[in-house]
């Protein structure tokens, strides 16, 4: 999957995270704002990075505004933003079977 354009997913409501993805050239750069940054910032960044890598995305600029999202919501919002940014409407679900 390749980031072709800027895309946003998620909201600024409680328990959600707003992810903005933009094309990047220098790996995955993450700008995170979170009320729990001191406790969980490292984990949130790692989860965003891991989710993007799992989708085959090697370069992207990520802006994440976290409002206390669970890991599952973070993964979902990153995947949504990635598909939107890549212009994909059909997702390869088989690749993420759990």
């Amino acid at each position: 999957m390749q980031i072709k354009e800027t895309a946003i997913a998620g909201t600024l409501e409680s328990s959600d995270i707003m992810i903005t993805l933009e094309p990047g050239s220098d790996g995955i750069e993450i700008d995170l704002q979170s009320a729990v940054e001191k406790q969980f910032g490292r984990e949130i960044r790692a989860l965003i990075r891991e989710t993007l890598t799992g989708l085959g995305i090697a370069a992207a600029r990520v802006t994440a505004i976290d409002k206390g999202a669970l890991d599952c919501a973070i993964r979902a919002r990153v995947k949504t933003a990635a598909c939107r940014a890549a212009g994909e409407t059909v997702f390869p679900w088989g690749a993420v079977k759990k």
Binding site: S15, A69, C72, A73, G94
Partner: protein
């Protein structure tokens, strides 16, 4: 017996509500990818519900997902996302014929095979929401062994009838009766429509009393505040519980004696009486009343 007194709708694109859904005492949680999600957010809701099903534990809850209609690309993508989790029953909206069920079943079977799931492990539930759907309710209910229940969706149905919902629900009587008979003829559950006015508890209680008397197993609900009144109405009285316990005891005693004739206080206990007594005890057990009696 699986209790389906309350099926709580949870909008599929709301992480906060998805996170909290398990804390409420509804029997079933129904994540919605259809009407409560705007067209622009269908993809986001699909990912969110998929990830939630893969991650969050909802102890003791039956999980369902209302997908989009299968004649849209959204519906097929919903199936791909949800069936693969192996955790939820698929609720198919706006079902109008047995063929709708067969089409959905075929897709589910293909995905189960692709995902390495046990064939037939994904349950289905149909919702009829039109005159055509109601008239075909029997064929719909009997179309697949995957079906666990059939529901009526009143808002679309009354629009199709060119009327609107009244407090008495007279316009729904035929549709409800058809759905109920279809469910019973297929040996599956019958689930009533939502009561939309969440601030009107009296109206909810009145409607629930009506649908319980008709024979419905439960109701779809849109707010956690509706759970308690519905469960109260589905909770048997002390008198009903005591009588049912005596009936079940009499049956056990007769079995021990090897007697085929069972009587209680001079009245014969036949199969329908026994079945009704068992249902009363199941409902009492779900409400925690039997345990409390044993502890007392």
């Amino acid at each position: 017996m699986k209790l389906r007194r309350t099926m709580l709708y949870v909008p599929g694109n709301n992480p906060g509500m998805i996170k909290d859904a398990g804390v409420y005492p509804a029997d079933c949680i129904m994540f919605d990818l259809e009407d409560s999600v705007s067209l622009a957010e269908k993809d986001a809701a699909r990912f969110l519900v998929h990830e939630a099903l893969c991650t969050i534990d909802y102890p003791g809850k039956e999980l369902l997902v209302r997908i989009n209609a299968l004649d849209t690309e959204m519906g097929r993508e919903d199936l791909e996302a949800i069936v693969r989790t192996g955790r939820a029953t698929i609720r198919l909206p706006k079902t109008e014929s047995a063929q709708d069920i067969l089409d959905c079943e075929k897709e589910i079977a293909r995905i189960e095979k692709d995902a390495g799931l046990v064939p037939g492990s994904t349950g289905m539930m149909a919702a009829v929401e039109s005159a055509k759907g109601v008239l075909n309710a029997k064929e719909i209910a009997c179309a697949s062994t995957r079906l666990i229940g059939i529901a009526i969706g009143a808002e679309d149905y009354v629009t199709d009838l060119k009327t609107n919902r009244s407090p008495e629900g007279i316009e729904l009587l035929f549709g409800r009766s058809m759905v109920l008979l279809a469910a019973r003829s297929a040996g599956i559950d019958a689930i009533d429509t939502v009561y939309s006015d969440i601030d009107n508890e009296e109206g909810l209680r009145k409607e629930t009393t009506l649908i319980k008397q008709l024979g419905f197993d439960g109701k779809s609900i849109i707010n956690p505040r509706q759970i308690q009144p519905i469960h109260e109405i589905y909770t048997p009285t002390e008198k009903e519980i005591s009588k049912s316990l005596l009936i079940i005891e009499a049956i056990e005693e007769a079995k021990k004696r090897g007697s085929g004739v069972i009587a209680l206080n001079g009245k014969m206990i036949d199969k329908p009486v026994a079945l009704r007594a068992q249902r009363v005890l199941d409902l009492a057990s779900a409400a925690g009343l039997l345990k409390r009696r044993e502890e007392a």
